[in-house]
Point group: C2
Chain length 147, copies 2
DNA sequence: TCTTATTTAATAATTGTTACAAATTTAAAA
DNA sequence: TTTTAAATTTGTAACAATTATTAAATAAGA
């Protein structure tokens, strides 16, 4: 099953009409490795769907989040970013390159989950968690430090 | 030493001229418990400094972040929020109330720090980390679940 | 005090996002 | 298949948050 077929299936699963626009937008986000902005999704889907509108991309992404097909990522500059990957996973924010990289680690998830279970936070029904790591990406070639 | 004096000292420490505006803005953020937006800081300082300009608040907050006097918090809706608390600490995002609450836990910090040390992430110089917990705030009175 | 550089206020401009009305598409009914 | 109604999309206008600009005010040094 290709990505569009998969998107179509997901859409009908959550009760959304599987239009061409929705299919390509969903597929685009799910295929993206780099947490795209609405603008980035727009540019990507526009290549094969020149008549698609930016407003549709914005709307559709919001609908997808509401239906739990994708999730939002919080970016440093406050701009919207989306993530086709659901479930708990972590993000590395590069302070220099401004990239947001996925960082998946089963051990870390277990560690945190176990902690949260133990340390019952009062009056809070925990849905999701994510460790945000802020760091500087080092170009190894330049990483010759003389002390 | 009062908060303004403290702010003044911090400002000169990082090499910023300790103007009235900067002092009150820094003090306002540091005293805030609830991760204020620029607008919120503006409203707060305006009470005693009616002539202060919103633009100054925006600029000044950015300068403070750059000088590491405060830090930014990533809010769900994409609006800017600031945090007078430095160092590693965690945030609880309430999906229903939209609040961002601090969650400080020494044990959690140690747990994560120890993990990150062990699991050396390649080509990344880690600066900071923060666990983002997403959950629903439960009104305990309503929390009578019948299964 | 005078001079110069820095900072601020006020406002204009910009940008990302949302709202809207008309046009199009889809799905269902006839 | 055509008709009809509802949902969706487009294109654009409006909006709100943020940034840039410029003149005035302030602070620091000579």
């Amino acid at each position: 099953m290709n990505t569009l077929e998969f998107a179509k299936q997901k859409l009908t699963e959550v009760g959304l009409k599987a239009t061409q626009q929705r299919m390509v937008i969903l597929a685009a986000v799910q295929q993206s490795k780099n947490h795209p902005s609405p603008e980035a999704v727009y540019e990507k889907v526009r290549v094969n769907n020149p008549s698609i509108s930016l407003g549709t991309v914005y709307n559709t992404l919001d609908i997808f989040v509401e239906k739990d097909l994708i999730q939002t990522v919080l970016a440093k500059n406050g701009l919207k970013r989306y993530d086709g990957r659901l479930g708990n996973h972590n993000h590395i924010h590069c302070v220099n390159t401004n990239e947001i990289l996925d960082f998946e680690d089963e051990e870390l998830n277990d560690l945190v989950l176990e902690f949260l279970k133990r340390k019952k936070i009062e009056n809070l029904d925990i849905r999701k968690f994510s460790l945000h790591i802020q760091g500087e990406k080092i170009d190894e070639k330049k990483n010759i430090k003389i002390h």
